[in-house]
Symmetry: C2
Subunit: 392 residues, 2 copies
Amino acid sequence: MRIDAIDFFYLSMPEITLEADGSQDALLVRLEAGGNVGWGECEASPLTSIAAYVAPRSHGVCQPVSASVLGEQLNSPTDIARISALVQRNSMDLLQAPHTYSGIEMAMWDALGKERGLPAWKMLGYSATHAKTPYASMLFGETPAETFEHVRAATARGFRAVKVGWGGFGEGTVAADAEHLAAARDALGRDGILLVDAGQIWVENTALALERLDALESQHVTWLEEPFLPDAYSAYSAFAERSPRVRLAGGEGAHNERMAINLIDYGKVGFVQIDCGRIGGLGAAKKVAEHAVASGVTYVNHTFTSHLALSASLQPFAGLAEHRICEYPVEPKQLAIDITVNTLDIDDNGTIHAPNAPGLGIEVNTAAIARYAVPVEIKVAGRTLFSSSTAL
Amino acid sequence: MRIDAIDFFYLSMPEITLEADGSQDALLVRLEAGGNVGWGECEASPLTSIAAYVAPRSHGVCQPVSASVLGEQLNSPTDIARISALVQRNSMDLLQAPHTYSGIEMAMWDALGKERGLPAWKMLGYSATHAKTPYASMLFGETPAETFEHVRAATARGFRAVKVGWGGFGEGTVAADAEHLAAARDALGRDGILLVDAGQIWVENTALALERLDALESQHVTWLEEPFLPDAYSAYSAFAERSPRVRLAGGEGAHNERMAINLIDYGKVGFVQIDCGRIGGLGAAKKVAEHAVASGVTYVNHTFTSHLALSASLQPFAGLAEHRICEYPVEPKQLAIDITVNTLDIDDNGTIHAPNAPGLGIEVNTAAIARYAVPVEIKVAGRTLFSSSTAL
């Protein structure tokens, strides 16, 4: 079948705050091929990603993403890999391209799966899915008492694994950070899995991260996530050498499979976290999963938005029984909830599964799209290159 | 002084072909601070880069570039570093941000230099400039005879160093590539410096590159540029281990200093090529230059467009006497020529210098801007976020 149309939908909450909460807006992609409709979601700046799709070309390897996808044949996973290589070549110098393409690639798997009656994980080569244990992801409180309450609320909902992050962690004193970690452990209990997300706060400074190692170890923290910039591999590996018990996690910033593979090979992380809405889609993520398996590193999804994004991000490691922990959007904004008709709910065993349904197995709520839609119009040299009104 | 205004100018040739020639369009940046006007140039997709400047924020670390620069104090190089760190933090999840910011950062050095009466290279810490030997950069011909003619034309203009690249090189047979290399060497003569640019053609496949090693060695090629994707470090290092004489070059794809430093540390290149219009400006490039010096690697600029971009890209290594070779736009499109009033001309010794003048030392031809201007209008939710007509 032929890729006949691709449309972008920029959705937003009425107000966007400065919280580190990526569920405040969304960029959905609708792809039409052979009478099938596939959906995807870019975890990226909506306006900038749309611009990277429609921009006039600058030269042979700075072409817009649209140049490599519209009109292409889509009949097999091989076609998706071929189109990914085309985008990589033709948009080599267009930095935003992988973020734009991520949602399109997702939508290809969804459309192809619907055509063939196969779930994406099966087309990716897995024969079965395995249960994943979701962890609750939340921000540190302003005080240790508040952190305690946040974590307690998650355990009350049945979560046995909790990640706390951002807030002021890493910016104040080591003692203050230690108190927050102790509060989180208290609330979680001795057997819970405690994860910490530093949100790149120490940039490239390994010493600042190592100052917190005692506190992290004494609270039995399983992973320390993103202490540094995503490609500061030497800072990562210097920490890893000193920390046999608290392993490093990272990878959400990867916008191609090599960045994540380099973080494994050179940064020596123990957990690699991939967002299919940024890395170039499911195909790129599956390559990272294969490398993680070969390297003895645990693959984890990165998902902070809708259940469409969640399903997409589960597919690349759905068949890996040993890679069990998964990120689960616990308190997304209403927009992210309203985007999908169905959701991936936590079962009585406290686990979730990738859907056993064609494509991504998620139905998009088109009425919600209309409700949250942000109209966009882009004109260049008198021509309208994008108008959301024509897509709706 | 305060950064009062930043304006973008999207310029284009009437027609944009699929050649790998980045001089077909341009994105200029005009910055006003304390009554001074500074200019910069992004080597990037103009529309997408403008979108990254004006986009509504998505969350705390996916803010548009404008959020971190407008209204900031600009009184010293320390301020520029501070603003660069702000952009890095606040636009962490906006992939296009470094390409947009590169032109702005350049314009800051230009404005600050005009305020202080100092050239950018002096503010970067150099006490003197050193002559650079420009090489002529050109595409392979369709036949070896055509390649011979191209290189001959460059030597006739006095160039003693020539780089040939792209075209069909690396896609056909090893024998065909060898004939092109022999033709280039014939035309250049025994003593000329021959450089080859593979344009990422072998993606990550070291074996395909190594198949050409005999031909590259027998024509005494000084460097093989970008055989692989810019972050395929293991492919780079695998080639480097096998090739003691033909050194690798790369780095133009770096959109922050770490990517270039990783290419040195993990990719084992012998030459690192930095485009100040992509890496985040002069400050990021200077860090790469320092790392190159410490690592015994030669720093080279990457410049294929205007003499504004050329001056900017010379500044970070202007004071390094041993890092002598430099890229020089030999046959840019008329647009790139018309952008500047003055140029960096090749002197009787066949060398060029960074200007000994305030800032970047290049005067922009505002009449040319009007002639090549591409009108852009971006509306989001009924508000006009960008309109080029108001900037002109």
